[in-house]
Amino acid sequence: MKRNSKIANIYLGIILFFMYFPIAMVVLYSFNDSRLTVSWKGFSLQWYEKLFSNQALMEALGNSLLLGVLSCFLSAVLGTLGAVGLAKLKWKSKGIIEYVSILPLMIPEIILGMVFLAFFSLLGMPFGMLTLLVAHTVFCVPYILMQVKARLVGMDKALEEAALDLGATPVRAFFDVTLPMITPAVLSGSLLAFAMSMDDVVISVFVSGPRTSTLPLKVYTQLKTGVTPEINALCTLMLAVTILVIILWKIAAGLSKKNKKGRQQI
């Protein structure tokens, strides 16, 4: 009975179709030979050429990538250590600490954006990469924290205790025993955090500086002022890279599985 009826599968298909239809349009119009999206004027690669010569856009992309990597790294460190600590801590009030840490998921982004703006200007921090990094790290931490926490719950504590009993320092036990086990959670949390950071508009609007625009902010101004299909081209490329990476990942995963099996047989 655990199979879906045909209708259910058709339903899944329809929803997925509507998820991808707008994306397909964006991809399609990146090859359009006209600036306006109202009509199809023939196939052209001109927007891809223009994209690479559009310095401002490339710089914004660079900023976004850098910001994504840095904030994802920083939040991975903070989040992982935090989750490990929380798991061991036996305070009654640790629930509050945890609640506050994942608060960024619970309040509308716009509020985070505005409090950052107010607070950073109170501190006199110059708006730019640093303020963006802090803000992004705050909303990235919860993703990693929750992932790692979930992983730790299912983990066998005995292993780490054994390591400690055998004389390993807590730091050593962490790196040799705990970390390898939670790495998948850290990585998948980091990927999610990276995606969220790359995509954020609402918070970045408030904390970006005069010299640092991020890709989503550039797209946002363009959407208000009239999009040039260079943006379509850029997104098509980013999507292509993502798909390529996933395919490579699959292939690599397949290979390593085979390897493992091979070894087991030996």
């Binding site: 109202v38 990538l65 994802c72 998948p184 990585l187 998948s188 990276f194 990942w249």
Partner: protein
């Protein structure tokens, strides 16, 4: 699998370092200039030529409204930006707050090119802080093929046949102002009862509004989203360039008028570069290129001979009324009118 993810992250990291490296390689150049204004206020060639001539790299940073600019500049306490271009009325606040640099005219050899018609204005009576960069009158533009009535003035915008078809700009003072004008009152009316009446009349316009947007509002007209638009001068020019069949209306009830100005913030990080830039833009040929490109009326006398004839001051221009700063209470009421109006639009 972990290794793949790790590799992926490393790859992204490497890519971002390379990309940001491209952006940062300009250290060898002779400094930077942060230019802060609306989108598309300069032809790219003018900026490129300036960079080439001086070796100064221009960082073009955008704001969407005057008020955003003031907020950001105030936060930066007059720093961060080197040259800002914004509208007349906001400059009064900028100057009052001490956020603008008193200009050293010695460094601006082209200062005398400015058309005196645009000087001595209320926001800077002695021309100490500002350099005009184009002037304009917001106008009504429509597509006669899609509109059944002949539009002569603001009052025609209330016509029921225009249901859901008007695109307007998003400056609350200007839109409140033209309602005032349509009733024969001043653009800057400060009488609270009058303003409330304006608010009520504005509400009646709501059903006809298709969209409200400050940037590139003309696109709504060009791609068929709207058949009538109330546009800034530059947008009027751009709309006509794309579609010469559009009709332009100088509203019979009276005109609004605005002057944009350049100024140097009081704590600009590279003042020398800022002076160089302002002076460069004041050169007649350069100014003309700018005006022709952005489609505002020329505020540079020496440039008039190079400017597209449509952009040399028509007599009607200076008869228009400029939006001025008004009392807090009146301003709050205008703001409230605007919020109510927007809420009523859908």
């Amino acid at each position: 699998m972990k290794k793949v993810v790790a590799g992926l992250l490393t790859g992204v990291l490497a890519a971002s370092v390379v990309l940001s490296g491209c952006g940062g390689s300009s250290d060898e150049k002779k400094g930077e200039l942060v230019l802060y204004t609306w989108e598309a206020m300069f032809p790219q060639e003018v900026l490129d030529n300036f960079e080439e001539e001086t070796g100064i790299e221009i960082i073009y940073s955008n704001f969407d409204t005057n008020e955003t600019m003031l907020e950001k500049l105030a936060q930066a306490e007059g720093g961060d930006y080197d040259v800002i271009i914004a509208d007349d009325y906001i400059l009064e606040s900028v100057i009052q707050e001490g956020l603008a640099e008193k200009l050293d005219k010695e460094k601006l050899s082209n200062f005398e090119n400015i058309n005196p018609l645009y000087q001595g204005q209320f926001y800077d009576e002695n021309d100490e802080y500002t350099v005009p960069y184009g002037a304009g009158i917001p106008l009504i533009v429509y597509d006669p093929e899609q509109v059944d009535i002949e539009i002569k003035g603001y009052n025609d915008l209330w016509d029921p046949s225009l249901k859901d078809s008007i695109a307007i700009t998003a400056n609350y003072r200007v839109i409140n102002g033209i309602v005032n004008l349509s009733e024969g009152r001043s653009l800057n009316d400060e009488n609270l009862d009058d303003i409330k009446a304006t608010g009520e009349k504005l509400l009646e316009l709501a059903p006809n509004i298709r969209m409200i947007q400050d940037d590139n509002t003309q696109n709504a007209l060009l791609n068929g989203e709207a058949s009538v638009a109330f546009l800034y001068t530059s947008q009027v020019t751009m709309a006509l360039q794309e579609n010469p069949d559009l009709k332009v209306v100088y509203p019979e009830e009276g005109l609004g008028f605005g002057i944009m100005n350049m100024f140097i913030p009081s704590d600009a990080p590279s003042k020398d570069a800022a002076y160089q830039f302002v002076n460069y833009i004041l050169e007649p040929e350069v100014a003309a290129e700018c005006f022709n490109n952005i489609g505002y009326y020329s505020t540079n006398q020496a440039a008039d001979e190079f400017v597209n004839e449509d952009l040399v001051v028509p007599d009607s221009v200076t008869k228009g009324e400029i939006v001025k700063n008004i009392g807090e209470e009146a301003d709050m009421q205008y703001n409230k009118n605007w919020t109510e109006f927007k809420a009523a639009c859908d």
